[in-house]
């Protein structure tokens, strides 16, 4: 099947996803801005509570990941958080999360930023740290309370959520093993937020073909060519989900059956959780995958780049799944709010 495995002996020991309780329907946002309901990018999206931010959601997801890993937090050697909504411009999120989790102070911690792929970037770094033997376990987290300018197309999708993974050397009781990884980046002016600006700007249709699709497909195709995988080797394909349509278009371009994409889809019901987006798709798939199945997950972050990972699900997944609430359980908490309350939750009312 393949000649070269790029990552050997590194596995996910525990995983956790978190989405806030609150939701706003796209039709409610469309009602306020006088837009038709015909072409709304998602059905509804998550909204953080008044007391939630990137740090608190990262802690929630990481606690579930540690519960599934069943390890002493003192064994964790690195806490990496990817986000584009770190609460402080200068003061790391990672140190607060690490103390809340009860890790040792003698750890490596960094905040990553790469638009929506900051979470998978954090994961790449943890894999490297574990692989080099510098740490025994590390936590990679993607967490965001994404910003969307009122009335802008992004307001329908910019959502809140977090996903965390405890990564270490492989063993008898791990959730999934990494097999390979490939990244692809270019200088792409599709989406950005300048310093001191509250909201990002984007280049509308330009964010599709040369940005999302080019980088996503380039990372996947490079993985196929260099590592000798075939698309038929995979049971699940997880994509970054800026809306509910792009992943299916990418799948069609690659010739992937829809049935292998659907299990990892979340954006139609929770929106685009940015740094957590594709990682939450992985959490959802790990909640249902069987040992022996193979997963291909590909993130995308504007600016732009994609990280692609190949994972093989292991026997430990069955037992670990029960150690923390599943994503489906968290999604059941959905409580719908109107646009006025949404503005309050998102700190868009300034007096």
């Amino acid at each position: 099947m393949r000649d070269l495995v790029k990552i050997t002996g590194i596995a996910i020991h525990g995983y956790g996803g978190y989405v806030p309780r609150y939701r706003i329907k796209s039709e409610e946002i469309a009602r306020v801005w006088g837009k038709g309901e015909g072409e709304l990018p998602v059905k509804e999206k998550t909204v953080n509570n008044l007391d939630e931010d990137t740090i608190t959601m990262a802690i929630e997801a990481a606690k579930y990941a540690i519960a599934r890993a069943e390890i002493d937090p003192k064994k964790i050697g690195a806490v990496n958080i990817g986000s584009e909504s770190h609460p402080y411009a200068v003061k790391p999120s990672g140190t607060i999360v690490a103390e809340a989790l009860g890790t040792s102070p003698s750890i490596f911690s960094a905040d990553f930023e790469f638009a929506c792929k900051a979470g998978s970037e954090a994961m790449q770094m943890i894999i490297g740290l574990v692989g080099s033997g510098m740490i025994e376990y590390g936590i990679a987290i993607g967490s965001d309370t994404a910003q969307g300018r009122p009335g802008d197309a992004l307001e329908y999708t910019a959502a809140a959520g977090a996903a965390a993974f405890v990564i270490g050397k492989t063993g008898n009781n791990v959730a999934a093993e990494f097999e390979a990884s490939k990244s692809y980046v270019t200088d792409m002016p599709d989406f950005w937020r300048r310093d001191y600006e509250r909201y990002p700007v984007h280049t509308s249709r330009f964010t599709g073909e040369p940005a999302y699709f080019h980088h996503t497909l380039s990372a996947i195709n490079a993985l196929m060519e260099e590592d000798g995988y075939k698309l038929s080797d995979f049971d699940y394909f997880i994509f970054h989900q800026p809306n509910a349509k792009f992943p299916y278009v990418a799948a069609k371009m690659l010739g992937i059956p829809i049935q292998k994409v659907e299990p990892g889809m979340l954006s139609h019901i929770i929106g685009n959780t940015y740094s957590a987006c594709s990682l939450l798709g992985l959490v959802k798939v790990l909640d249902e995958a069987k040992p022996g199945q193979r997963i291909l997950i590909t993130s995308y972050g504007s600016g732009a780049g994609s990280d692609s990972f190949v994972l093989k699900v292991c026997e430990g997944i069955i037992e670990k799944r029960q150690k923390a609430p599943t994503l489906a359980r968290l999604l059941q908490r959905a409580t719908y709010i109107d646009y006025a309350r949404y503005l309050r939750h998102r700190d868009k009312i300034r007096v």
């Binding site: 939630e52 802690i59 929630e60 609460p87 607060i96 103390e99 809340a100 359980r329 908490r333």
Partner: protein
């Protein structure tokens, strides 16, 4: 800059606010939130730091509508008394719920949330709150 909150005090309170680490007197059982040398109740010097459980039982609650300074943005919010398995009781905010969803005796779990912030440029204070347990 003038800080509304005492930053050293928050810094010292982190173990309690983030992870419910307390100092329990081994003679009388009194629980101290902050590192203590002598028990405030019995003057014993035998204090041991321990972590309170992450789940508790809801004993009572009320809704705060006239919030004190620093908490105006959250009002109305719920404050309750929770009791741990060992009998230790704690006054805490309750989050991710409406008052009508709460029942006396229900199980609640600790989460870390934003407690308050010192304006747009000051420190964000994080700490425990409780919510109905997700199982």
């Amino acid at each position: 800059m003038v800080f509304r909150f005492r930053i050293p005090s928050h810094w010292r309170a982190k173990p309690f606010r983030y992870r419910l680490i307390v100092y329990r007197c081994e003679d009388c059982g009194m629980v101290h939130q902050y590192p203590a040398i002598i028990c405030r109740k019995c003057r014993s010097t035998r204090l041991r730091h321990t972590q309170l459980p992450q789940t508790a039982k809801l004993l009572s609650f009320t809704v705060v509508r006239q919030a004190p300074v620093g908490f105006e943005e959250l009002a109305p919010y719920i404050v309750g008394v929770v009791e741990f398995e060992d009998g230790t009781r704690l006054v805490t905010q309750l989050t991710d719920c409406e008052p009508e969803e709460l029942k006396i005796g229900m199980e609640v779990e600790a989460v870390v949330r934003k407690i308050t912030q010192d304006g747009p440029s000051g420190l964000i204070i994080y700490g425990f709150k409780f919510r109905p347990r997700i199982v």
